[in-house]
């Protein structure tokens, strides 16, 4: 999850991470974690990283920030499938949640 600024608009933070900044904290699916934003419009990556236990790595030479995965526990902390939004091979955006009502096998593969 790459960012080009340490301070990110709320909508962008949600689009990239799936976590929405609300009054009650950062929420995704059925989970909310306590989080106090400095203002309603932006999310400070360092504060969000701490709240979500997601390591934040900064590449100062290229002005990039990356949030890692959630640390602690297991890779799956809930069985509610997280939203996954990726481009298909034609470049069109696809959301995993669009297949609700259908059994889905998500298959990771690679050409290498």
């Amino acid at each position: 999850m790459i960012f080009i600024s340490p301070s990110v608009p709320v909508a962008e933070f949600e689009r990239v991470t799936g976590w929405l900044a609300k009054v009650e904290g950062l929420c995704r699916g059925d989970r909310c974690v306590p989080f106090r934003a400095n203002d309603a419009a932006t999310v400070e990556l360092s504060a969000a990283a701490e709240a979500l236990a997601m390591p934040l790595v900064h590449d100062s030479g290229h002005g990039l920030w990356a949030l890692g995965a959630e640390a602690g526990g297991h890779a799956l902390q809930s069985v509610v499938a997280p939203e996954l939004e990726l481009p298909d091979y034609r470049g069109e955006s696809f959301r995993l949640s669009s297949l609700r009502g259908t059994k889905v096998v998500l298959v990771a593969w690679a050409s290498w």
Partner: protein, 228 residues
């Protein structure tokens, strides 16, 4: 390879979604997808987002999600059929290194028949959770990969490596790929994709190779035996 199963199981209400973990995206994955002519969603995940989200560490891996959007099987090896390379004979003129590599490949746990049989059972079950292969929520979470801070940090380094590679900053990208490999040595998608980007120089760049790493970590780390 998945299109055939998709044709068979789509009438039962099962959809297949493939995700290509290629740092170069459609440039490298696209020709394979075009050749397969899939009717199912075929996605591109250059930054290996699914590794961070689901705990995927190698390909092919499958995750089962039921009609209500609940995960009923966490990532596990998902071979749709027995790969041809398992039956390839070792040539009489093969070098000792080549012989060792082929023997190691043949020692991998690849259980396509068992996996596909379980998938068919789930697809045919009235509601997904009635299949005995659909696991309880506690079991799904318990079987998903433990996520220490080192592995969580590896995801950030891999994403930075991919982003920098895409921007042409190859040397900086390699530093982040090395960090990802050091922090999560058993994430084979991080290793194999970075090696592939380095091409013929891979061993010089990363100071290791597939055979040495699989021998060090063990074939069960590469493809754990299926627990169906």
């Amino acid at each position: 390879m998945w299109q055939e199963l998709r044709t068979e199981l789509r009438p039962q209400g099962l959809e297949i979604v493939t995700v290509a973990l290629d740092a170069r995206g459609s440039e490298t994955a696209g020709p394979w997808i075009a050749k397969a002519a899939p009717e199912h969603p075929s996605l591109i995940d250059a930054a290996h987002v699914v590794d961070a989200l689901f705990g995927i560490v190698n390909v092919p891996s499958g995750v089962w999600i039921d009609e209500e959007g609940m995960i009923v099987r966490p990532p596990e090896p998902a071979h749709p059929r027995r790969p041809a390379y398992l039956d390839r004979a070792v040539g009489a003129d093969a070098s000792p290194e080549e012989r060792e590599r082929i023997e190691l490949v043949k020692a991998l746990h690849i259980e396509a028949e068992r996996y596909v049989a379980a998938l068919r059972d789930w697809a045919w079950s009235e509601r997904g959770r009635e299949s005995r292969y659909a696991l309880s929520p506690d079991e799904v979470i318990r079987r998903s990969r433990p996520r220490p801070v080192e592995e969580a940090t590896a995801a950030a380094h891999f994403a930075l490596g991919q982003a920098l590679y895409a921007r042409g900053a190859h040397a900086a990208a390699i530093e982040h790929f090395r960090a990802a490999h050091r922090l999560q040595p058993t994430n084979w998608t991080y290793r194999r994709d970075a090696w592939s980007l380095a091409g013929a120089d891979r061993e010089a760049v990363y100071g290791t190779n597939w055979v040495d790493e699989v021998k060090r970590e063990g074939v069960e780390s590469y493809y754990p035996p299926l627990r169906l």
